[in-house]
Symmetry: C3
Subunit: 199 residues, 3 copies
Amino acid sequence: MLGIIELLGVVTFAFSGVIEAHRRGMDLVGIFAIAFVTAFGGGTLRDLLLDRTPLLWVAEPGYVLLTLAIAFLGTLALRSGFFYINESSIILPDALGLGLFSAVGTAFTLQMGLSPVIGVFMGVVSATFGGVIRDVACNEVPVIFRRGQLYATCAFLASLVFWALQAAGADYGLAVSASILVAASLRLWAVKNDVHLPI
Amino acid sequence: MLGIIELLGVVTFAFSGVIEAHRRGMDLVGIFAIAFVTAFGGGTLRDLLLDRTPLLWVAEPGYVLLTLAIAFLGTLALRSGFFYINESSIILPDALGLGLFSAVGTAFTLQMGLSPVIGVFMGVVSATFGGVIRDVACNEVPVIFRRGQLYATCAFLASLVFWALQAAGADYGLAVSASILVAASLRLWAVKNDVHLPI
Amino acid sequence: MLGIIELLGVVTFAFSGVIEAHRRGMDLVGIFAIAFVTAFGGGTLRDLLLDRTPLLWVAEPGYVLLTLAIAFLGTLALRSGFFYINESSIILPDALGLGLFSAVGTAFTLQMGLSPVIGVFMGVVSATFGGVIRDVACNEVPVIFRRGQLYATCAFLASLVFWALQAAGADYGLAVSASILVAASLRLWAVKNDVHLPI
Protein backbone atom coordinates (compact mmCIF):
# COMPACT_ATOMS: atom_id res chain seq x y z
CA MET A 1 0.00 0.00 0.00
CA LEU A 2 2.80 2.43 0.95
CA GLY A 3 4.72 1.22 -2.12
CA ILE A 4 1.74 2.19 -4.28
CA ILE A 5 1.51 5.64 -2.68
CA GLU A 6 5.29 6.13 -3.15
CA LEU A 7 5.05 5.29 -6.85
CA LEU A 8 1.97 7.51 -7.15
CA GLY A 9 3.85 10.34 -5.38
CA VAL A 10 6.90 10.09 -7.64
CA VAL A 11 4.74 9.95 -10.79
CA THR A 12 2.64 12.90 -9.62
CA PHE A 13 5.62 15.06 -8.65
CA ALA A 14 7.31 14.28 -11.97
CA PHE A 15 4.10 15.04 -13.83
CA SER A 16 3.74 18.41 -12.07
CA GLY A 17 7.21 19.18 -13.44
CA VAL A 18 6.07 18.13 -16.94
CA ILE A 19 3.06 20.47 -16.73
CA GLU A 20 5.21 23.42 -15.62
CA ALA A 21 7.95 22.82 -18.22
CA HIS A 22 5.46 22.23 -21.04
CA ARG A 23 3.63 25.46 -20.20
CA ARG A 24 6.91 27.34 -20.65
CA GLY A 25 7.50 25.82 -24.09
CA MET A 26 10.50 23.70 -23.13
CA ASP A 27 11.64 20.79 -25.28
CA LEU A 28 12.08 17.18 -24.08
CA VAL A 29 15.45 17.97 -22.47
CA GLY A 30 13.94 20.70 -20.32
CA ILE A 31 10.78 18.72 -19.59
CA PHE A 32 12.76 15.67 -18.43
CA ALA A 33 15.15 17.80 -16.34
CA ILE A 34 12.32 19.70 -14.63
CA ALA A 35 10.32 16.49 -14.06
CA PHE A 36 13.39 14.86 -12.54
CA VAL A 37 14.30 17.69 -10.14
CA THR A 38 10.66 18.01 -9.07
CA ALA A 39 10.37 14.32 -8.25
CA PHE A 40 13.83 13.70 -6.78
CA GLY A 41 15.23 17.13 -5.86
CA GLY A 42 13.83 17.19 -2.33
CA GLY A 43 15.08 13.74 -1.35
CA THR A 44 18.41 14.33 -3.08
CA LEU A 45 18.98 17.61 -1.22
CA ARG A 46 18.07 15.91 2.08
CA ASP A 47 20.56 13.11 1.42
CA LEU A 48 23.33 15.54 0.41
CA LEU A 49 22.76 17.55 3.61
CA LEU A 50 22.76 14.38 5.75
CA ASP A 51 25.59 12.73 3.77
CA ARG A 52 23.41 9.67 3.15
CA THR A 53 24.61 7.52 0.23
CA PRO A 54 23.85 6.24 -2.26
CA LEU A 55 21.01 8.42 -3.50
CA LEU A 56 17.73 6.56 -4.15
CA TRP A 57 17.81 7.02 -7.93
CA VAL A 58 21.54 6.18 -8.17
CA ALA A 59 20.87 2.87 -6.42
CA GLU A 60 17.66 2.25 -8.38
CA PRO A 61 18.22 3.56 -11.92
CA GLY A 62 14.74 2.41 -12.91
CA TYR A 63 13.53 5.71 -11.45
CA VAL A 64 15.54 7.63 -14.06
CA LEU A 65 13.94 5.63 -16.87
CA LEU A 66 10.50 5.99 -15.31
CA THR A 67 10.90 9.77 -15.18
CA LEU A 68 12.04 9.78 -18.80
CA ALA A 69 8.93 7.80 -19.77
CA ILE A 70 6.69 10.20 -17.82
CA ALA A 71 8.36 13.19 -19.50
CA PHE A 72 7.96 11.63 -22.95
CA LEU A 73 4.41 10.31 -22.61
CA GLY A 74 3.27 13.31 -20.57
CA THR A 75 4.51 15.69 -23.25
CA LEU A 76 2.78 13.75 -26.01
CA ALA A 77 -0.45 13.70 -23.98
CA LEU A 78 -0.33 17.44 -23.26
CA ARG A 79 0.54 18.32 -26.89
CA SER A 80 -2.13 16.03 -28.33
CA GLY A 81 -4.77 18.39 -26.99
CA PHE A 82 -6.99 15.43 -26.10
CA PHE A 83 -6.42 16.01 -22.40
CA TYR A 84 -6.95 19.13 -20.43
CA ILE A 85 -4.70 18.62 -17.44
CA ASN A 86 -3.36 21.24 -15.07
CA GLU A 87 -2.31 21.54 -11.44
CA SER A 88 -5.91 21.18 -10.24
CA SER A 89 -6.10 17.74 -11.84
CA ILE A 90 -3.32 16.43 -9.63
CA ILE A 91 -4.11 17.99 -6.26
CA LEU A 92 -5.16 14.72 -4.61
CA PRO A 93 -2.19 12.50 -5.62
CA ASP A 94 0.16 15.44 -4.99
CA ALA A 95 -1.26 15.82 -1.46
CA LEU A 96 -0.81 12.09 -0.78
CA GLY A 97 2.81 12.26 -2.00
CA LEU A 98 3.38 15.34 0.15
CA GLY A 99 2.38 13.43 3.28
CA LEU A 100 4.34 10.30 2.39
CA PHE A 101 7.56 12.13 1.53
CA SER A 102 7.32 14.18 4.75
CA ALA A 103 7.03 11.01 6.81
CA VAL A 104 9.81 9.18 4.95
CA GLY A 105 12.17 12.18 5.16
CA THR A 106 11.55 12.48 8.89
CA ALA A 107 11.98 8.71 9.38
CA PHE A 108 15.35 8.61 7.55
CA THR A 109 16.64 11.50 9.66
CA LEU A 110 15.49 10.08 13.00
CA GLN A 111 17.04 6.70 12.06
CA MET A 112 20.41 8.48 11.95
CA GLY A 113 19.94 9.43 15.61
CA LEU A 114 19.47 13.13 14.85
CA SER A 115 17.32 15.58 16.75
CA PRO A 116 13.52 15.77 16.18
CA VAL A 117 14.03 19.40 15.08
CA ILE A 118 16.25 18.21 12.22
CA GLY A 119 13.86 15.30 11.57
CA VAL A 120 10.89 17.60 11.01
CA PHE A 121 13.04 20.09 9.06
CA MET A 122 14.25 17.33 6.71
CA GLY A 123 10.70 15.98 6.35
CA VAL A 124 9.63 19.37 4.99
CA VAL A 125 12.75 19.68 2.80
CA SER A 126 12.16 16.19 1.32
CA ALA A 127 8.54 16.89 0.50
CA THR A 128 8.78 20.46 -0.77
CA PHE A 129 12.25 21.28 -2.17
CA GLY A 130 11.74 19.40 -5.42
CA GLY A 131 9.10 22.02 -6.19
CA VAL A 132 11.39 24.82 -5.01
CA ILE A 133 14.21 23.70 -7.35
CA ARG A 134 11.65 23.29 -10.17
CA ASP A 135 10.50 26.90 -9.72
CA VAL A 136 14.05 28.30 -9.48
CA ALA A 137 15.05 26.41 -12.66
CA CYS A 138 11.92 27.81 -14.36
CA ASN A 139 13.04 31.31 -13.29
CA GLU A 140 10.20 31.94 -10.85
CA VAL A 141 10.05 32.77 -7.15
CA PRO A 142 9.19 29.37 -5.57
CA VAL A 143 5.44 29.08 -5.24
CA ILE A 144 5.63 27.79 -1.66
CA PHE A 145 7.47 30.98 -0.58
CA ARG A 146 4.68 33.20 -1.91
CA ARG A 147 1.42 33.60 -0.03
CA GLY A 148 -0.14 30.48 -1.52
CA GLN A 149 -2.58 28.01 -0.08
CA LEU A 150 -1.00 25.96 2.73
CA TYR A 151 1.59 23.54 1.36
CA ALA A 152 4.85 23.54 3.35
CA THR A 153 2.66 23.88 6.44
CA CYS A 154 0.97 20.56 5.57
CA ALA A 155 4.40 18.93 5.24
CA PHE A 156 5.44 20.46 8.57
CA LEU A 157 2.40 19.10 10.43
CA ALA A 158 2.70 15.70 8.73
CA SER A 159 6.37 15.49 9.81
CA LEU A 160 5.47 16.56 13.33
CA VAL A 161 2.71 13.94 13.57
CA PHE A 162 5.08 11.25 12.29
CA TRP A 163 7.67 12.13 14.93
CA ALA A 164 5.10 12.33 17.74
CA LEU A 165 3.55 8.95 16.88
CA GLN A 166 6.96 7.26 16.59
CA ALA A 167 8.05 8.81 19.88
CA ALA A 168 4.83 7.49 21.43
CA GLY A 169 5.70 3.98 20.24
CA ALA A 170 3.37 3.67 17.25
CA ASP A 171 4.59 1.37 14.49
CA TYR A 172 5.98 2.71 11.22
CA GLY A 173 2.97 1.91 9.03
CA LEU A 174 0.56 3.64 11.38
CA ALA A 175 2.76 6.74 11.73
CA VAL A 176 3.18 7.05 7.96
CA SER A 177 -0.55 6.58 7.35
CA ALA A 178 -1.38 9.27 9.89
CA SER A 179 1.10 11.65 8.23
CA ILE A 180 -0.47 11.09 4.84
CA LEU A 181 -3.95 11.61 6.28
CA VAL A 182 -2.93 14.85 8.02
CA ALA A 183 -1.09 16.31 5.01
CA ALA A 184 -3.74 15.34 2.48
CA SER A 185 -6.77 16.45 4.46
CA LEU A 186 -5.19 19.77 5.47
CA ARG A 187 -4.02 20.40 1.89
CA LEU A 188 -7.41 19.61 0.32
CA TRP A 189 -9.18 21.74 2.92
CA ALA A 190 -6.77 24.65 2.29
CA VAL A 191 -7.25 24.46 -1.49
CA LYS A 192 -11.03 24.20 -1.22
CA ASN A 193 -11.33 27.14 1.18
CA ASP A 194 -8.36 29.16 -0.11
CA VAL A 195 -6.59 29.08 3.27
CA HIS A 196 -3.28 30.94 3.65
CA LEU A 197 -0.90 31.42 6.55
CA PRO A 198 -1.97 34.43 8.62
CA ILE A 199 1.59 35.82 8.46
CA MET B 1 34.00 37.69 22.27
CA LEU B 2 34.23 35.68 19.01
CA GLY B 3 31.18 33.72 20.17
CA ILE B 4 29.25 36.97 20.47
CA ILE B 5 30.32 38.09 16.99
CA GLU B 6 29.34 34.69 15.56
CA LEU B 7 25.88 34.92 17.08
CA LEU B 8 25.63 38.53 15.90
CA GLY B 9 26.70 37.45 12.39
CA VAL B 10 24.14 34.63 12.17
CA VAL B 11 21.35 36.86 13.47
CA THR B 12 22.30 39.66 11.07
CA PHE B 13 22.56 37.40 8.01
CA ALA B 14 19.22 35.78 8.88
CA PHE B 15 17.66 39.20 9.39
CA SER B 16 18.93 40.42 6.00
CA GLY B 17 17.04 37.43 4.54
CA VAL B 18 13.91 38.44 6.47
CA ILE B 19 14.11 42.00 5.07
CA GLU B 20 14.50 40.75 1.49
CA ALA B 21 11.72 38.14 1.75
CA HIS B 22 9.34 40.53 3.52
CA ARG B 23 9.89 43.16 0.84
CA ARG B 24 8.76 40.64 -1.78
CA GLY B 25 5.56 39.86 0.09
CA MET B 26 6.46 36.31 1.08
CA ASP B 27 4.66 34.50 3.89
CA LEU B 28 6.33 32.93 6.95
CA VAL B 29 7.38 29.84 4.98
CA GLY B 30 9.27 31.95 2.45
CA ILE B 31 10.66 34.32 5.06
CA PHE B 32 12.02 31.46 7.17
CA ALA B 33 13.46 29.67 4.12
CA ILE B 34 15.20 32.81 2.83
CA ALA B 35 16.48 33.72 6.32
CA PHE B 36 17.86 30.20 6.72
CA VAL B 37 19.67 30.01 3.37
CA THR B 38 21.11 33.49 3.89
CA ALA B 39 22.50 32.62 7.33
CA PHE B 40 23.62 29.05 6.67
CA GLY B 41 23.85 28.67 2.88
CA GLY B 42 27.48 29.75 2.59
CA GLY B 43 28.81 27.48 5.32
CA THR B 44 26.63 24.60 4.13
CA LEU B 45 27.89 24.90 0.56
CA ARG B 46 31.49 25.03 1.83
CA ASP B 47 30.97 21.87 3.88
CA LEU B 48 29.29 20.03 0.99
CA LEU B 49 32.19 20.95 -1.32
CA LEU B 50 34.76 19.86 1.29
CA ASP B 51 32.73 16.81 2.40
CA ARG B 52 32.84 18.02 6.03
CA THR B 53 30.17 16.46 8.22
CA PRO B 54 28.00 16.98 10.10
CA LEU B 55 26.79 20.42 9.05
CA LEU B 56 26.81 23.02 11.85
CA TRP B 57 23.03 23.34 12.06
CA VAL B 58 22.47 19.56 11.84
CA ALA B 59 24.76 19.10 14.84
CA GLU B 60 23.31 22.12 16.67
CA PRO B 61 19.57 22.21 15.91
CA GLY B 62 19.19 25.25 18.15
CA TYR B 63 20.27 27.29 15.12
CA VAL B 64 17.18 26.12 13.21
CA LEU B 65 14.92 27.23 16.05
CA LEU B 66 16.82 30.53 16.40
CA THR B 67 16.32 31.25 12.68
CA LEU B 68 12.63 30.42 13.01
CA ALA B 69 12.35 32.86 15.92
CA ILE B 70 14.16 35.57 13.93
CA ALA B 71 11.86 34.99 10.95
CA PHE B 72 8.76 35.14 13.13
CA LEU B 73 9.71 38.11 15.31
CA GLY B 74 11.40 39.95 12.45
CA THR B 75 8.27 39.65 10.34
CA LEU B 76 6.05 40.91 13.16
CA ALA B 77 8.43 43.84 13.75
CA LEU B 78 8.55 44.79 10.05
CA ARG B 79 4.76 44.48 9.64
CA SER B 80 4.02 46.44 12.81
CA GLY B 81 5.29 49.57 11.10
CA PHE B 82 6.87 50.73 14.38
CA PHE B 83 10.37 50.11 13.00
CA TYR B 84 11.89 51.41 9.85
CA ILE B 85 14.64 48.89 9.15
CA ASN B 86 16.41 48.24 5.88
CA GLU B 87 19.79 47.06 4.65
CA SER B 88 21.47 50.31 5.80
CA SER B 89 20.44 49.58 9.39
CA ILE B 90 22.47 46.37 9.43
CA ILE B 91 25.64 47.36 7.57
CA LEU B 92 27.87 47.27 10.65
CA PRO B 93 26.87 43.86 12.10
CA ASP B 94 26.75 42.45 8.56
CA ALA B 95 30.34 43.66 7.97
CA LEU B 96 31.52 42.08 11.23
CA GLY B 97 29.86 38.78 10.28
CA LEU B 98 31.43 38.99 6.82
CA GLY B 99 34.91 39.16 8.35
CA LEU B 100 34.29 36.43 10.91
CA PHE B 101 32.77 33.96 8.44
CA SER B 102 35.64 34.57 5.99
CA ALA B 103 38.19 33.76 8.70
CA VAL B 104 36.30 30.70 9.98
CA GLY B 105 35.79 29.32 6.45
CA THR B 106 39.48 29.74 5.67
CA ALA B 107 40.46 28.19 9.02
CA PHE B 108 38.29 25.07 8.49
CA THR B 109 39.76 24.54 5.02
CA LEU B 110 43.39 24.99 6.10
CA GLN B 111 42.79 22.57 9.02
CA MET B 112 42.02 19.90 6.41
CA GLY B 113 45.52 20.39 4.99
CA LEU B 114 44.27 21.97 1.78
CA SER B 115 46.04 24.64 -0.27
CA PRO B 116 45.90 28.34 0.73
CA VAL B 117 44.22 29.01 -2.65
CA ILE B 118 41.32 26.76 -1.64
CA GLY B 119 41.42 28.20 1.88
CA VAL B 120 40.88 31.75 0.65
CA PHE B 121 38.31 30.57 -1.96
CA MET B 122 36.29 28.77 0.73
CA GLY B 123 36.56 31.77 3.05
CA VAL B 124 34.85 33.90 0.41
CA VAL B 125 32.26 31.17 -0.37
CA SER B 126 31.41 30.80 3.35
CA ALA B 127 30.93 34.51 3.84
CA THR B 128 29.12 35.44 0.64
CA PHE B 129 27.22 32.48 -0.86
CA GLY B 130 24.37 32.63 1.64
CA GLY B 131 23.52 35.97 0.03
CA VAL B 132 23.99 34.52 -3.46
CA ILE B 133 21.52 31.68 -2.76
CA ARG B 134 19.12 34.19 -1.16
CA ASP B 135 19.15 36.32 -4.32
CA VAL B 136 18.75 33.34 -6.68
CA ALA B 137 15.80 32.05 -4.62
CA CYS B 138 14.29 35.56 -4.76
CA ASN B 139 14.68 35.46 -8.55
CA GLU B 140 17.32 38.19 -8.80
CA VAL B 141 20.85 38.33 -10.18
CA PRO B 142 23.01 38.01 -7.03
CA VAL B 143 23.82 41.48 -5.75
CA ILE B 144 27.51 40.66 -5.23
CA PHE B 145 27.86 39.78 -8.95
CA ARG B 146 26.56 43.18 -10.02
CA ARG B 147 28.72 46.29 -9.82
CA GLY B 148 27.92 46.95 -6.18
CA GLN B 149 30.01 48.44 -3.41
CA LEU B 150 32.89 46.13 -2.43
CA TYR B 151 31.60 43.04 -0.62
CA ALA B 152 33.17 39.81 -1.91
CA THR B 153 36.41 41.77 -2.15
CA CYS B 154 36.26 42.45 1.60
CA ALA B 155 35.76 38.73 2.25
CA PHE B 156 38.68 37.97 -0.08
CA LEU B 157 41.06 40.32 1.72
CA ALA B 158 39.88 39.14 5.14
CA SER B 159 40.53 35.51 4.12
CA LEU B 160 43.94 36.43 2.73
CA VAL B 161 44.88 38.28 5.93
CA PHE B 162 43.75 35.31 8.03
CA TRP B 163 45.90 32.91 6.01
CA ALA B 164 48.94 35.23 6.05
CA LEU B 165 48.79 35.74 9.81
CA GLN B 166 48.35 32.02 10.49
CA ALA B 167 51.23 31.21 8.14
CA ALA B 168 53.34 33.78 10.02
CA GLY B 169 52.57 31.97 13.29
CA ALA B 170 49.97 34.33 14.77
CA ASP B 171 47.46 32.67 17.08
CA TYR B 172 43.89 31.98 16.03
CA GLY B 173 42.22 34.76 18.02
CA LEU B 174 44.56 37.40 16.65
CA ALA B 175 44.18 36.22 13.04
CA VAL B 176 40.37 36.17 13.31
CA SER B 177 40.29 39.62 14.90
CA ALA B 178 42.50 41.03 12.14
CA SER B 179 40.19 39.49 9.50
CA ILE B 180 37.14 41.06 11.07
CA LEU B 181 38.90 44.42 11.30
CA VAL B 182 39.99 44.30 7.64
CA ALA B 183 36.59 43.20 6.29
CA ALA B 184 34.58 45.60 8.41
CA SER B 185 36.71 48.69 7.86
CA LEU B 186 37.01 48.11 4.11
CA ARG B 187 33.27 47.43 3.83
CA LEU B 188 32.24 50.52 5.81
CA TRP B 189 34.69 52.67 3.83
CA ALA B 190 33.34 51.28 0.52
CA VAL B 191 29.72 51.93 1.50
CA LYS B 192 30.46 55.45 2.77
CA ASN B 193 32.42 56.43 -0.36
CA ASP B 194 30.48 54.30 -2.86
CA VAL B 195 33.60 52.35 -3.89
CA HIS B 196 33.29 49.73 -6.64
CA LEU B 197 35.77 47.38 -8.29
CA PRO B 198 37.49 49.17 -11.20
CA ILE B 199 36.69 46.19 -13.49
CA MET C 1 46.18 14.94 -26.77
CA LEU C 2 43.25 14.35 -24.36
CA GLY C 3 45.04 16.61 -21.86
CA ILE C 4 45.06 19.38 -24.44
CA ILE C 5 41.35 18.91 -25.19
CA GLU C 6 40.57 18.95 -21.44
CA LEU C 7 42.43 22.21 -20.96
CA LEU C 8 40.76 23.61 -24.09
CA GLY C 9 37.35 22.49 -22.74
CA VAL C 10 37.85 24.10 -19.33
CA VAL C 11 39.12 27.35 -20.88
CA THR C 12 36.22 27.43 -23.36
CA PHE C 13 33.54 26.71 -20.76
CA ALA C 14 35.04 29.36 -18.45
CA PHE C 15 35.19 31.83 -21.33
CA SER C 16 31.53 31.21 -22.22
CA GLY C 17 30.79 32.22 -18.63
CA VAL C 18 32.90 35.37 -19.06
CA ILE C 19 30.95 36.33 -22.21
CA GLU C 20 27.58 35.84 -20.49
CA ALA C 21 28.56 37.70 -17.31
CA HIS C 22 30.21 40.55 -19.21
CA ARG C 23 27.10 41.00 -21.38
CA ARG C 24 25.06 41.49 -18.21
CA GLY C 25 27.39 44.19 -16.91
CA MET C 26 28.80 42.21 -13.98
CA ASP C 27 32.05 43.19 -12.28
CA LEU C 28 35.09 40.93 -11.82
CA VAL C 29 33.51 39.14 -8.85
CA GLY C 30 30.47 38.15 -10.91
CA ILE C 31 32.52 37.34 -14.00
CA PHE C 32 34.86 35.06 -12.05
CA ALA C 33 31.97 33.36 -10.23
CA ILE C 34 30.02 32.73 -13.44
CA ALA C 35 33.15 31.53 -15.28
CA PHE C 36 33.92 29.16 -12.42
CA VAL C 37 30.45 27.60 -12.15
CA THR C 38 30.25 27.23 -15.93
CA ALA C 39 33.60 25.40 -16.12
CA PHE C 40 33.36 23.33 -12.94
CA GLY C 41 29.67 23.25 -11.97
CA GLY C 42 28.79 20.14 -13.97
CA GLY C 43 31.66 18.01 -12.68
CA THR C 44 31.19 19.32 -9.14
CA LEU C 45 27.48 18.45 -9.13
CA ARG C 46 28.29 14.97 -10.50
CA ASP C 47 30.84 14.39 -7.74
CA LEU C 48 28.47 15.65 -5.01
CA LEU C 49 25.74 13.31 -6.29
CA LEU C 50 28.16 10.36 -6.44
CA ASP C 51 29.95 11.32 -3.19
CA ARG C 52 33.31 11.32 -5.02
CA THR C 53 36.01 13.26 -3.18
CA PRO C 54 38.03 15.35 -3.39
CA LEU C 55 36.63 17.58 -6.11
CA LEU C 56 38.97 18.14 -9.08
CA TRP C 57 39.59 21.82 -8.35
CA VAL C 58 40.01 21.25 -4.60
CA ALA C 59 42.76 18.72 -5.34
CA GLU C 60 44.27 20.87 -8.10
CA PRO C 61 43.95 24.51 -7.02
CA GLY C 62 45.73 25.61 -10.18
CA TYR C 63 42.32 25.41 -11.86
CA VAL C 64 40.98 28.13 -9.56
CA LEU C 65 43.87 30.43 -10.48
CA LEU C 66 43.49 29.57 -14.18
CA THR C 67 39.80 30.52 -14.05
CA LEU C 68 40.68 33.77 -12.29
CA ALA C 69 43.21 34.56 -15.04
CA ILE C 70 40.62 33.76 -17.75
CA ALA C 71 38.06 35.99 -16.03
CA PHE C 72 40.54 38.85 -15.68
CA LEU C 73 42.14 38.67 -19.14
CA GLY C 74 38.83 37.80 -20.85
CA THR C 75 37.18 40.84 -19.30
CA LEU C 76 40.01 43.14 -20.37
CA ALA C 77 39.86 41.69 -23.90
CA LEU C 78 36.08 42.12 -24.17
CA ARG C 79 36.17 45.66 -22.73
CA SER C 80 39.07 46.75 -24.94
CA GLY C 81 36.75 46.57 -27.93
CA PHE C 82 39.59 45.19 -30.07
CA PHE C 83 37.92 41.77 -30.20
CA TYR C 84 34.44 40.93 -31.27
CA ILE C 85 33.82 37.61 -29.54
CA ASN C 86 30.51 35.96 -28.83
CA GLU C 87 29.09 32.46 -28.47
CA SER C 88 29.53 31.76 -32.19
CA SER C 89 33.28 32.28 -31.86
CA ILE C 90 33.58 29.39 -29.44
CA ILE C 91 31.24 26.80 -30.92
CA LEU C 92 34.02 24.44 -32.02
CA PRO C 93 36.07 24.28 -28.77
CA ASP C 94 32.82 24.20 -26.79
CA ALA C 95 31.64 21.20 -28.83
CA LEU C 96 34.95 19.38 -28.25
CA GLY C 97 34.70 20.04 -24.49
CA LEU C 98 31.09 18.85 -24.53
CA GLY C 99 32.16 15.48 -25.95
CA LEU C 100 35.15 15.09 -23.63
CA PHE C 101 33.27 15.96 -20.44
CA SER C 102 30.45 13.57 -21.40
CA ALA C 103 32.93 10.73 -21.83
CA VAL C 104 34.86 11.53 -18.64
CA GLY C 105 31.67 11.85 -16.57
CA THR C 106 30.42 8.51 -17.86
CA ALA C 107 33.81 6.88 -17.26
CA PHE C 108 34.03 8.07 -13.62
CA THR C 109 30.53 6.74 -12.94
CA LEU C 110 31.08 3.33 -14.56
CA GLN C 111 34.39 2.98 -12.63
CA MET C 112 32.32 3.10 -9.43
CA GLY C 113 30.44 0.02 -10.61
CA LEU C 114 27.20 1.89 -11.18
CA SER C 115 24.57 1.14 -13.82
CA PRO C 116 25.01 2.31 -17.46
CA VAL C 117 21.80 4.34 -17.02
CA ILE C 118 23.46 6.36 -14.25
CA GLY C 119 26.70 6.48 -16.28
CA VAL C 120 25.02 8.12 -19.26
CA PHE C 121 22.95 10.38 -16.97
CA MET C 122 26.08 11.60 -15.17
CA GLY C 123 27.89 12.08 -18.49
CA VAL C 124 25.16 14.51 -19.54
CA VAL C 125 25.11 16.22 -16.11
CA SER C 126 28.93 16.67 -16.18
CA ALA C 127 28.90 18.19 -19.64
CA THR C 128 25.83 20.40 -19.44
CA PHE C 129 25.04 21.44 -15.84
CA GLY C 130 27.80 24.03 -15.63
CA GLY C 131 25.82 25.93 -18.26
CA VAL C 132 22.55 25.29 -16.41
CA ILE C 133 23.95 26.75 -13.16
CA ARG C 134 25.43 29.68 -15.13
CA ASP C 135 22.00 30.50 -16.59
CA VAL C 136 20.18 30.16 -13.25
CA ALA C 137 22.75 32.45 -11.57
CA CYS C 138 22.26 34.93 -14.44
CA ASN C 139 18.50 34.79 -13.77
CA GLU C 140 17.54 33.10 -17.04
CA VAL C 141 15.75 29.89 -17.92
CA PRO C 142 18.64 27.51 -18.79
CA VAL C 143 19.27 27.67 -22.52
CA ILE C 144 19.48 23.88 -22.87
CA PHE C 145 15.93 23.53 -21.48
CA ARG C 146 14.51 25.85 -24.13
CA ARG C 147 13.97 24.71 -27.70
CA GLY C 148 17.55 25.43 -28.74
CA GLN C 149 19.80 23.70 -31.22
CA LEU C 150 20.77 20.19 -30.04
CA TYR C 151 23.16 20.38 -27.09
CA ALA C 152 22.21 18.02 -24.23
CA THR C 153 21.29 15.54 -26.96
CA CYS C 154 24.89 15.63 -28.23
CA ALA C 155 26.13 14.94 -24.69
CA PHE C 156 23.63 12.10 -24.38
CA LEU C 157 24.75 10.40 -27.59
CA ALA C 158 28.43 10.95 -26.74
CA SER C 159 27.90 9.33 -23.32
CA LEU C 160 26.00 6.45 -24.91
CA VAL C 161 28.75 5.86 -27.48
CA PHE C 162 31.38 5.93 -24.72
CA TRP C 163 29.51 3.31 -22.72
CA ALA C 164 28.85 1.09 -25.76
CA LEU C 165 32.49 1.13 -26.87
CA GLN C 166 33.76 0.40 -23.36
CA ALA C 167 31.25 -2.42 -22.98
CA ALA C 168 32.46 -3.79 -26.33
CA GLY C 169 36.03 -3.82 -25.00
CA ALA C 170 37.43 -0.73 -26.74
CA ASP C 171 40.25 0.99 -24.89
CA TYR C 172 39.73 4.27 -23.04
CA GLY C 173 41.47 6.54 -25.56
CA LEU C 174 39.45 5.19 -28.47
CA ALA C 175 36.13 5.46 -26.60
CA VAL C 176 36.84 9.05 -25.53
CA SER C 177 37.89 10.04 -29.04
CA ALA C 178 34.73 8.56 -30.51
CA SER C 179 32.63 10.46 -27.95
CA ILE C 180 34.30 13.74 -28.84
CA LEU C 181 33.81 13.05 -32.55
CA VAL C 182 30.11 12.21 -32.09
CA ALA C 183 29.35 15.20 -29.87
CA ALA C 184 31.31 17.71 -31.93
CA SER C 185 30.06 16.64 -35.36
CA LEU C 186 26.42 16.43 -34.22
CA ARG C 187 26.66 19.80 -32.47
CA LEU C 188 28.27 21.57 -35.45
CA TRP C 189 25.73 20.01 -37.83
CA ALA C 190 22.85 21.10 -35.54
CA VAL C 191 24.13 24.68 -35.31
CA LYS C 192 24.75 24.94 -39.06
CA ASN C 193 21.31 23.58 -39.98
CA ASP C 194 19.40 24.95 -36.98
CA VAL C 195 18.32 21.47 -35.85
CA HIS C 196 16.06 21.16 -32.80
CA LEU C 197 14.50 18.21 -31.00
CA PRO C 198 11.16 17.30 -32.65
CA ILE C 199 9.46 17.31 -29.22
